[in-house]
Structures are given as structure tokens and as C-alpha cells.
Symmetry: C2
Subunit: 511 residues, 2 copies
Amino acid sequence: MRLRVKWLTTASLVGTVLKYIAAAMVVPLAVSFIYMEDVWVFAVSAAATGLLAFALERLDPDPDMGPAEALLLVVVSWLAVALVGTIPYLLAGYGTPSALAHPVNALFESMSGFTTTGATVMGEISTDRHSHALMLWRQLTQWLGGMGIIVLMVAILPELAVNGAQLMKTEAPGPDLQKLTPRITQTARVLWIVYFGFTALLAVLLYALHLGGFAPNMTAYNAVAHAFSTLPTGGFSPEADSIAAFSAAVQWVIIPFMVVAGTNFALFWHLLDGDVRTLLNDPEFRVYAGAIAILTAILATLLYGGGAPPQELGGTTAGNTENALRQAAFQIGSLLNSTGFATSDFAQWDPAAQTLLLFTMFIGGSAGSTGGGIKVIRWIVVIKALRRELFRTARPSAIKPIRLGGYVIDEDVVRGITAFTLLYMVLFGVATVFFVLDSLRVGYELSTLEAMGASIATLGNIGPGFGSLGPFGSYTEFPFETKLMMVFLMWIGRLEIVPVLAVFTGAFWKR
Amino acid sequence: MRLRVKWLTTASLVGTVLKYIAAAMVVPLAVSFIYMEDVWVFAVSAAATGLLAFALERLDPDPDMGPAEALLLVVVSWLAVALVGTIPYLLAGYGTPSALAHPVNALFESMSGFTTTGATVMGEISTDRHSHALMLWRQLTQWLGGMGIIVLMVAILPELAVNGAQLMKTEAPGPDLQKLTPRITQTARVLWIVYFGFTALLAVLLYALHLGGFAPNMTAYNAVAHAFSTLPTGGFSPEADSIAAFSAAVQWVIIPFMVVAGTNFALFWHLLDGDVRTLLNDPEFRVYAGAIAILTAILATLLYGGGAPPQELGGTTAGNTENALRQAAFQIGSLLNSTGFATSDFAQWDPAAQTLLLFTMFIGGSAGSTGGGIKVIRWIVVIKALRRELFRTARPSAIKPIRLGGYVIDEDVVRGITAFTLLYMVLFGVATVFFVLDSLRVGYELSTLEAMGASIATLGNIGPGFGSLGPFGSYTEFPFETKLMMVFLMWIGRLEIVPVLAVFTGAFWKR
Ligand SMILES: [K+]
Ligand SMILES: [K+]
């Protein structure tokens, strides 16, 4: 049996990816010099990662990538990056009581970062306890992960024809990315510019609030740290209280940026050209924005009517229009597209509000954004496919293609999208049962809502769940087997599931 | 605009269906004479139903049914039957404090009966409170519903090519129903014989246990009543404590009959010929029996290890092998295929056990059985379709048909089955959120598990859920809007969803 995949080529290209990670470690290294904390940690991490990258690159001096090698590259590179991402955690944690000193915890935190999940196993989140450089590295992993996702979505998956990823490119309604710029790599570059621009804008706005006296604790460090985790729909924060640590002004500013993070970035490129109609006419954006508006209205009504007890962190929402609206808009804006920031401990809200949030978590971001989950464009196609099924039953002889923004969607794409959505549900269910049983095995009892929350929060790259896994909780109590399962879910969830599982089939490897 | 459906033809055929219901009302009428209770109720009910049936039949003296009329007949007849089924409840309840005196409650109970769901809105379930005839009518609605389902599944839906229903006929592996007997109506007759046979056998066995001294309260009335609701995977019982009211011997006898109720009845026809291999080699039966065995083993382990507090009804399972195994086998056997009987208040079990039961409820019965839900054959096709999706990603050029028992499954059937499964999940989610919000509106707080339980228990025609909707609870506290939504879910769930929703499309009615 010969392998049909040139895995040395893939390994060499993973080396190239790691080279960029080594270079990115210069950012926390610089921060470590500013605060004179953990300097050796990042010096060693960058050097070790760089050396590994160099060694891997030499495995194939002239890498020539086919589709199989590209698929393997996507799958392996996220794992390799998560693995080297543990180096700073392990070095800084060595000999301390930090949870990150354990390899499984470090891998969880690193995978959670690079997949922009934002679930944490850290006990005490604070720059008093951990160095500023380490906490910024944690934020940066999310921002780097977001950059990777953009390349993956617009440049790699569509070429591989993976479960409807094509839709996110050529057949996307409104902005035809192919027309934006002649080459795919340039398309990615355009989206990167949008991503960079919004990150910088958010950091500047947040720091301006601080300078203007509206956000006492939004230091320059915090402004950059939160910009780093907002645009990738990340959700990590160096503050234990997430965005609840900041003023209402900060919360209101972050809400539109979270909405942006889940919107197709290409639409903003059109905005720069003064073209507002493309954004407003985009079917996916309309559904995405409409869902946020409707769910916010429902949740705000629940909160205004007393659907949440008064909290130290979230304040009182009952009878308080501004706070009910702010808490509702923030949590929906955050959970719908998989960001995972919080301004209130929604794990203490009424069951009705929590149930609404649970189902909101199944929606996901838009194509061409950093949002995870099932994604709005897939739901649109799924609903059209289900309606067609009713139509076919009502009129068995009729043939009806599925259209989106005037284009006919290829039946293979429809099939891929319905299969993906179904696979997502099945994995959600299997993971939930796994978590419940594995936790019971070690005597840690999980409610159904907690188990479901853990499942969707990791598979959907959202981060926080419910109960003890709420936005101010931690995943640290889980047995290591469950944590490794979660690492797996974050990994496959971020890579649209099918590519990773396909690499695990015999058909991928055998001739 | 002309209607393309000859609705008068359908109305006339609905009349024919109602004629059989009027005839069936003679059974409780006879019982009412035995006990001299509610005689006028059933005399009037039978007469009124018969008159209505006669009037409807006259609407089209020479009914000639096409596919559209057949589809409409299926959809309308279940609703019409549920409506006339309320007559005894309303007449008997008139002027009493019985919940069934209210039309919405009566419709809920009647629809729950004829769809073999088994959810109840009755407060006090007892032949002291209600007449023996009325309680037997409630049991009989389930048995009649089961007969209807058999005709629907083998004779009508496959002809209409509804979401993979074809699979349940010609392409079914093992027993090719077409070959069993030359005509479809005869196929249905064969399955009816099996259904009749098992019903009679169970009634005789249960009464024999009574005569043998193993079941003091299993009177002839109870033996017949429970046989009436076991084979249709119904779940109603004239005892408030369901099967927990009876001895362990009764429980052990009912378990295999519940398993039978969810098995393809055609396989038993082969058994009568001495052909055991067809049963044992049937892919659906192997998965169905395997799932019951595995889930029972897991649940028994949980219960043995202390996963349930000692109860008056279910007894102590911790450290008690026989009881742990019995409770596990009974509840899995009951919930997996949508029966809904209970021998223990599983709503009081540990969250882990309840979560396991919740997911068990998504499996469903087999094709050619009276079991509801998604059904095992669909899961087999879905899993094969998902695996093929991985295969296609690993080897984009390969073409791979989906096979089942040596046959290639038509791609239209695969598409119909994946669409059905996805639609099922979407409806489950929408209904859950609806229940939570509607209940909150009237100040009745529902936990996520309770709302999900209500959703799957009605859409899947299972009956009991969790929390206050547990096996010994009642649906009576819900607002009427929620109850009507549940009536709708039971109705569409029992008719495989798509036929009902298709009738609601404009495409069905317009030329
Ligand atoms: K996230
Ligand atoms: K049932």
C-alpha cells in the first residue's frame, strides 16, 4: 500500500505556518520587556517554535501542494499551532500552582485560543497572577486564529469543495469575491485589511473612552487585548469579569464590533467604495441582522419583565430599559455569532432566557467572517431545501432548483450543506452524552443544560456555557478525557468538521 | 384559480374512515353496559359519529382518489378522527370538574390517543373517577391509531413517495413486503394479523399472570386495556401509576412486547414460516435491538451505581441487580421506540440518566412498526450519508452510492430522509422555544429539560417528558396555546411531518 498523500510536503508547509507563529511571539516578547515579566518564557518559546518551523520546512525543499496535501495542511496546521501555543503556558506555569502547568490544560487553553473559542480552564484570570505578556499571548492566539480562519474560508476550503464552502466564495450572493480582486490570495488580503482596520479602530475607540473618562480601567493594554479577541469572535479577556468589568459605554461600543465580527467582511470592502446597497441587499446579512434584532427584542422583554435576578455584575434589568436592552443586545450579539463575551452572568438568568440563549448558539456567524458554528448562509439553504421538500411532496412532478440571490445553487452544494448541519446536530448529541457519562464516572454531576452548553460551546467555538461553565466559570473541573474530547470538538468545529473527519478516513490515505 | 384537489372526494373518504370509528365505539358501549356507567355517552357518541360519517360519504358517491386526494385524506382523517374522538370525553365530562370537559383538553387527549402519543391532561387517572367505558375508550383510541399507522406506512406513504417512506416498502432489506403478498392492501392485512395476534397474546399472558397469582391487580379489564396501548407504542394506562402499579412479573412480560411493538411486523410473518434468519439478518432490527441492549446496559449500570434515589414507585435500584436491570430495560424499551410506559418516576433520576433518556427519545421505532419518531432505518441512512460526505471530501472524484442490505438507495430517497431528519430537529428546537416563551407569558416556569421533553415527547409521539411532565405528571398546567401547539406536533409527528406541512403549502392547492 502506498500513501497517496505527500505528507512530507504538508509537514514542510506546516513549518511555514509555524514560522509565522514564531514571528508573532515577538509581540508578547516585547510586552514582556515592557513589564519585565516572563521575558525568558517568550524568548525560549519563540526560539523553540522558530527552530521547529525551520526543521519542518527542510523536509521538502520544493513543496508542491495538491488538494489532498492542502486538506491535510489545514487539519494538521491548527493542531500544530495549538501544540506550539502551549509552550508559553507550560514554561510560565512550570513549578507554579497554575492550571496551565498541566499539558492537557495548556492544550485546552491554546486550542481554545487559536480556534477563537474562548473557553478557559484558568482558575484565576488576572494580570496580578499571570504576566501581562502571557495574558496578551492568550489574546493574540485568538487574533491569529481569526486571521487563519479568513484564509481558510476564502482561499482553501472553497477550492476543496468542502460541504458547501463554495457558497462562501463564487456563489455567494452580493459580493462576488472573485470579482473583488483577481486572485484568491488577494481576496484574503482584502479581508485581512478589513480585519486589521476594525481591530485598530476598536482599540483606538476603547482607549479614547478611557482618555475621555468613560472607562477608568480600559487601559491601553486592555484596549488592545479586547480588540484582539473581539474581531476574531474570540471571547478571551484578561479580566476575570469579561466585559462586565467595564462601564456601560465600553459595552455599547463593543456590541457593534461583535456584530461586525460575524458579518461577511467583503461587504465592508464595498462600503469603503461608498456602496451601502450591497450590504443592505445581502440575503445573509439581512437574516443575520434580523435574527440579532428579533432575539434581542425578545430577550430584552424577558429581562425587563424580571427574567434575571439583580446581580453584582450585570446589575438590575427588571424595569430598567437601558440595562435590559444592553444586556440583551450584548449577550445575543455575543452568543449568536460565537464570540462568547459576557456582561452578565447569564447562567443565573431564568430558564426561559437560558433556553433562548442555548438555541441562539446554534445559529452562528456569516460566511466570510470569523464567526463559527453552523452559519447563517447554511441555515438559509437548509430552510430552502426543507421548503422544497414540502413542495416536492405537494407536487411530485415539479422540479425546483434552490436559488439564492438570483443564482441557482448546485445540488451537490445543497447536499453538502444539509449533511453538514445534520452532522453538527449528531456530534452535538454524541458529545453531550459523552460529557454526562464521563463526568459521572469521576463523580462530577452535570445537568442536561450544562452538558449541552459544554457541547455547543466547544463544537461551535463559542466559549461559555451554562451552570458552572457560565461566562464567569471555568472548564477546569472536567476530567482530562472530557477536556481532550473538547479540544477535539473545538478543533473540528473550527475547521468545519468535515475536513478533519475526512482525514481520519482510510479513503484519504489509501490509493 | 381552480383547486387541483378534489376535496369532496377526500371528504367522502374521511366519512368512510369515520364509519369505522363509529363502529369501534360499540366496544366501549358494550363495556358501559357491563358496568352500567356512561351508557348514554357512548350511545350518543356512536350515533353522532355514524351520522356524520354517513353525511360525509354522500358528498361524493363515486370517490376516485388520486395522489393529491390520498395525501389530503391522510392528513385530514387523523384530525377528523381526533375531533370525533373528543365526543365521549366532552359528554362524560360535561358538568363535572374533569379537565376533559374543556374542548382543548379533550382534543389534546383524543389526539394523544389516536397518534399513539400517550401524553395526558387528565388530573386523576382512575376508574373510580371516570367510567370503565371512558377509560377503555382512551385505551382503544391508541389501538385504533396503531391500526391506522400500519395502513399509512405500508400502503399510503410509500405510494406518495414521502421522505423516504419508499424505503419502508420496496427497498426495505430482508422482508420485501411486495413479495409477501401480491397486493398492498393484503400487506397491510398481514401486518394487522401480526398486530392482532400480539395484542391478544399479551392480554392472555397478562391475565394468566393474574390467575396465577403473580399480578393481583391485573384484572381482565386491565389486561385488555394495557394490551390495547402496548402494541401501538401508545403508553396510556387506566392506572395513574402506569406499569409501576403492577408487579415485577407484569413488567418483565411487557418489556418484550414493547420491543416487538417497535419492530418491523413483517419480520414476524417470516418467523411464522419458521424463518428466523430474516429477522436476525435484518439491518434495521440489528441496530434497533443493539441500541436497546447497549443503552439498557449503560442505564442499568448508572442505576445500579446509585443513579436514582429510592422511590415508592420504582423501588431501590442502587445495588439491586434485578431492579436496576428491569427499570433500565423497561424505560429504554419504552422511550426508544416511543411507547412511553413507565415503571419508575425517571423524572426524579440523576441528570445523567435523564440526559441519556432524552437522547434515547430521538431514535424511534422501526419501519413497518407502530413506533414513531425519526426511526432506526432513517438513522442508518443518515449515518451512511454522512460517512459518504467524508468519503467525498477525502476522494472528490469518487462516486459512491448508498447501499442497504445489498440494494442501492435512490438519491431522492436519501435526500428525503436527510431532509426529514433535519426538519425534525428544527421543529424540535422551534417548539421548545415556543413552549418556554408561551409558558413564561402565563407565569409558568419551564426548565430547559422540561421544555425539550415536552417538545420531543409530543413531536415524537412518546408521551411522558421530564420534570412536571414526567411519567406520573400531567400536561394540564400548560396554557391552551401551548396545548394546541402540542396537538399540532402530535398530529404532524405521527404523519411523518412532511405530508401535513405539504398540504399547508400553496403549491398543493393551486393549479
Ligand atoms: K468564541
Ligand atoms: K407513545
